[in-house]
Amino acid sequence: MEDWTDIIGKRIKEERKTLPPGDWDNLEREYLARKRSRWIYTSIISLAAAAIAVLAVLLPNQSADINIINDTGIPDTVSELLAQYDSTETIIYPPRKRNFTIADQGTADQVVIAEKPESSTEGSINEEKMDEAQTARPVDNKEHPYYDNSTEGIYTRDRKKIVLSSRLGGLSSRASSGIRGINSSGMGIPYMLGANGGTTIHHSIPITFGLDIGFLIQERFVLTSGIEASVYKSEFSYSGNVGGSRGIEQTAWFIGIPLKLEYTVWEADRFSSWIGAGGKVDRCIYARRNGMDIHDDTFNWSVLANAGIRYDLFDNIGLFLAPEISWYFRSENTQLLTYRTENPLMFTVNAGVKFSF
């Protein structure tokens, strides 16, 4: 049975109002102007992100100097190369030891390894920032007369189904840098030997570029995968027992495939945040040390957990920041010494742009 509010509702619902002449032209102009400014804004952000990425790669090494004295009995490529450079030196390989000891920089017969954080993966879901009501009918089970039956279900929460992300990941700080011994066996680690000299290793900031795609698989749950490229640069410099020093550079590129499940924990206005966990496998596709190619086809596995926050610039475009913690399972077969072979537990921060559809 109708009550007086039903009468009011029905009358108001049927109301039509004529808009002033020229309103359409104003709207069209406004629409085109916004579209243009949005395009400009997006272009600027993209260019800025690209510039930051390029700068990050081109930045000089920022790691601390570290000294390594080889105590392995394995002549490796780098040592041999260095020996070629300095033929006056006699290289002596002491008996193999499994571990290094820690000492102050510059002290012979001891090793200090500096560590740098490494980039890693990230992902997120994008959330429709506009709250939309659920399909549930009135809680008192009263059939509301103005509920539009023809559109039943239209109020279902309409989250974006697909999220594309482009991101740049790098270290968040050097706080995780530390000193640890190295299990050198089987790694082909380029420990450079000197009778009374040492080896200094510079690990450049590892950088990761990633493209992810996420699929909404259930309310608030997004399954994310993608592809990422990581670059690890290191420099090994050696000071011999007759003075002088030699340097060897190493660059290694890895391609990785992450798989993560993420859950949106909070949404408000233009912000949303998520937590996630998953794993990643990657493999070296190119490595070069002192002009020589290095082949390393080891699969590197890792597990990771992340949290992120996103700010929506527009309906479909948002910026995000996602700290991540990951653990690499060290492979005994790898031929490369990089940051992550020395420091399996890493904390990194990813930042980038997300596009939702």
């Binding site: 108001i12 406004e30 916004r34 506009m130 109020y155």
Partner: protein, 166 residues
């Protein structure tokens, strides 16, 4: 042009809706433009679900944008709802039918923001209390009690108006 067709078909229906959630007709027009621009951008994501679904979709965008604006302006507050409950009686249905629409709209627009919002959403847009609680971030109980107070207040206004017209 598809955008113009959409405008010609739905703008006149959406305009009064936008005005109901804003202070005046100019603000209503701004809201309408924002909602239509958003709809133009998002039209690719619209799923046709039968007759009326396009209007419902547009209405949903407009209502959400209105709520978002009111929230940003800090005009929506449910914290001071311990106000008096008006003891007005329900107005006569036949009399309500005779009240000019403009007068009814004026009375509704003079309701406090939170009450007007809940009244509009429930009695005019047809949202359930559960949906309103989700939209406004309030509890279902708050929605029902706010609606009850809005109805009492509006009934008092209508009764007062009808008394004057006698």
């Amino acid at each position: 042009m598809a955008r113009k067709v959409l405008y010609n078909r739905y703008a006149a229906r959406l305009y009064p809706l936008c005005c109901r959630y804003t202070k005046d007709s100019d603000a209503g027009k701004d809201l309408l433009h924002d909602a239509l621009i958003k709809a133009f951008d998002k039209i690719g994501g619209f799923n046709y679900r039968g007759e009326g679904s396009l209007y419902a979709w547009l209405r949903k965008i407009a209502v959400n944008m209105a709520i978002e604006r009111i929230r940003k302006e800090g005009r929506l507050s449910f914290s001071q709802l311990n106000d008096d409950i008006y003891a007005a009686e329900d107005p006569d249905i036949d009399s309500v039918k005779e009240i000019p629409l403009d007068e009814l709209l004026k009375m509704i627009s003079s309701l406090p923001e939170s009450k007007r919002m809940v009244f509009n959403l429930f009695c005019i847009e047809g949202f359930s209390h559960y949906e309103i609680s989700e939209l406004l971030g309030i509890s279902v109980n708050t929605s029902t009690s706010t609606l009850a107070k809005a109805k009492r207040l509006l009934a008092a206004m209508i009764n007062n108006y009808l008394e004057k017209m006698k």
